[in-house]
Subunit: 413 residues, 2 copies
């Protein structure tokens, strides 16, 4: 296996002003490409430390991907540091200069000398054009490593990697690769891990994970002599993963969130949904509307945080509230029915619970959530005590409520 | 200035399965304590690479904070690697063993041999008790560095750092330190940076930033012979920061979100708010209810994504919708008035816009958002075209709408 390193350059990172999401993204992409990432290093904007890190990483890895320090300011030292390390002068790339000028002209700005600096590269470097911003990347050889340098802005870095680096790295390996993404929800990662033990060896694939609470993505990567063989192998292993985890736990194949997958199901069945949310306070509506085009199936949510709002917006009677309390099965059901009626939707989905940290009691502890789904055939209802802090309880409750919709749509008949 | 290093250990990190938020958090804390963090390194669960990283970091830094690899599984190699690096055997700490057993007994589980392993430490190590989980931390000397080892779970790592490491590091420096956190919203970080140029030198303080889009935290750290002097110095610099950025831009002193600060203002004025949200789809309600205790001032939100819901829940007439379109000043105002009436709140706040990526036109482009605030004295209204992708437009719109509440409450009279 080829070894790869990820280097992040920037004082904003070593001071902890930003979380380094680039390093995780690149590590995941390199792992998917079949590389073993054995060093992930961050240094500040300091030439001697940039040079020392590159020398060390170049001695031990086949590939280095570096991000950051390609901007126009005097703090941005990456290009100059590489030139000094290699003992070469800088050259100004005419076609990069052209692109930078064109970008500025297109928004009616003048190009400054510091922006033109972004067209400078170490002599001998191959330029990686940037169609998404002003800082192009470049590639040089450092020690035994192919070293790629990219800007730190994720929306520029990611497409340059995908357009100019991933195909090259894929090609180096020879043969074909194929990857299948399976999305799971409702299983702990350690459980997933245990259940899938042995598949890697049996099917000659690599299984990776990406956690995005409470979702876990399972990635099945196969490499073989041809792309067709790799695809076959990945398919066989993915089917084994599905069999072991169960169809219930795997909500989608391909890259999508749980809310997106539920939205697709609703679309396929030409159904609409509306919500009545108490403890989740708009979180579930937010998750559904994070998805572009969700207006096809999502009509709205009555976020009825106050009891008076439960009465005014979704018609929960005051008697019901005082008899059972807001966090109860009858109130959840009444909210679901009320949301369905108020919005005129096919499904009415309701959540009421105690997100904490305060407000719990012996019989209704923090984490207790009632959720209910109203549809043409009646109401289904569940309740659980979710672990975790306020944020986790709310997220778990939103997902559990969505699972009622999924089960209703997937139920036979 | 003392140099510090942060080492993260774990194959889940080098494979990119998790974003390394621990490194950013520790880097920020160390910077706040007056250290210069010059290396942030991640290695996989591999003994030779763990040892090589520790040796190198120990030669170049005064402090190393390491996280991860202290769990009960065979993958967790940190403790053993440190023992091998130092050439010492492991010892089992009776008091740690006692705590681990007690934790398991308290939840009705038996302790396994692998859990008891978590009471093992390199001979000579000082144990850092963990009151928040099963894996205690420990401290040893590696080269010139005080090396601290902590578990990787953030909710255990952070309190151990705060309880056992921060006071010790603060003490090493001698004298006193004082830090003031100022929260800003509405200024770009580069603008903040430019405006504050020179304050560090003038006031002998360190100014740091933590970006949490669209909020930016400005941290003013002073060190002096005594705590009182440090507090005075920090205060003087913070006042200068406030003067330069303007009171409008700084929404709070201390650690709090914008929604939290608006909530405090509402509480102070004994006012309640209710929302009518279209393009933000519940996001603003979610931000307000992320805050524990928000039921004191937040009554709810009518997330009226479909036009029919705007009519049914907050009484926007169909004529108004067809005459002006859903994204318009009259509809925003009607939604605000409707939310105030439906929930019976002091303030009714409404947002309607085009979050994208689709749905824009020449006269109503993607990013156009109308937002309005209804109160006892009438309605105020604004609109803007926000840049960015769907998520950024929605977040910017939610914050801009909140700013109407802030200005209404801070307005004289």
């Amino acid at each position: 296996v080829n070894r790869a390193a990820v280097l992040s350059i920037g004082t904003e990172l070593t001071r902890g002003e930003l979380v380094n999401s680039n390093a995780a993204w690149l590590s995941s992409e390199l792992t998917d490409l079949g590389y073993e990432v054995t060093s992930v290093v961050t240094v500040d904007d300091d030439e001697p430390r940039i040079i020392a890190a590159l020398e060390r990483l170049g001695a031990e890895h086949a590939v280095i991907i570096s991000t950051g320090g390609l901007g126009p300011t005097t703090d941005d030292l990456t290009t100059l540091s590489v030139a000094h390390l290699l003992g070469v002068p800088l050259f100004r790339d005419p076609s990069s200069l052209e692109r930078i000028r064109a970008r500025f002209v297109s928004v009616g700005l003048e190009v400054s000398a510091s922006n033109e600096k972004q067209a400078d590269f170490p002599q001998g470097a191959r330029v990686l054009p940037n169609d998404w911003g002003t800082a192009p990347g470049f590639k040089v050889q450092i020690g035994g490593a192919d070293a790629y340098f990219l800007p730190g802005v994720p929306r520029e870095m990611r497409p340059i990697f995908e357009a100019h680096i991933a195909p090259e790295l894929r090609g180096r390996e020879g043969g074909g690769g194929h990857q299948i993404h399976l999305q799971t929800y409702g299983l702990r990662e350690s459980v997933v891990n245990d259940k899938l033990a042995g598949i890697e060896a049996e099917h000659s694939v690599i299984i990776g994970y990406r956690a995005h609470f409470p979702e876990t993505e399972v990635k099945v990567l196969a490499r073989a002599e041809t792309s067709e063989l790799a695809a076959q192998r990945a398919r066989g292993a993915a089917d084994e993963v599905i069999a072991r985890l169960g169809r219930e736990a795997i909500y989608a194949e391909g890259k999508r969130s749980y809310a997106e997958a539920i939205g697709e199901l609703l679309s396929q069945h030409s159904k609409t949904v509306a919500l009545a949310e108490s403890c989740t306070g708009g979180l579930l509506a937010k998750l559904l509307t994070d998805v572009p085009g969700s207006s096809r199936y999502f009509l709205g949510s009555a976020v009825t945080y106050a009891n008076s709002a439960k009465t005014a917006l979704v018609g929960v009677s005051e008697q019901l509230l005082s008899a059972h309390g807001a966090v109860s099965e009858p109130v959840a059901s009444a909210m679901a029915l009320g949301a369905r009626a108020a919005f005129g939707s096919d499904f009415g989905l309701a959540i009421t619970g105690i997100a904490g940290p305060d407000g719990g009691s012996a019989e209704k502890p923090v984490g207790l959530v009632h959720y209910a789904l109203a549809h043409s055939g009646g109401v289904v209802q569940e309740h659980k005590v979710f672990p975790g802090d306020r944020g986790q309880v709310r997220l778990r409750a939103a997902y559990a409520a969505l699972s009622l919709v999924r089960r209703a749509l997937l139920a036979p008949g």
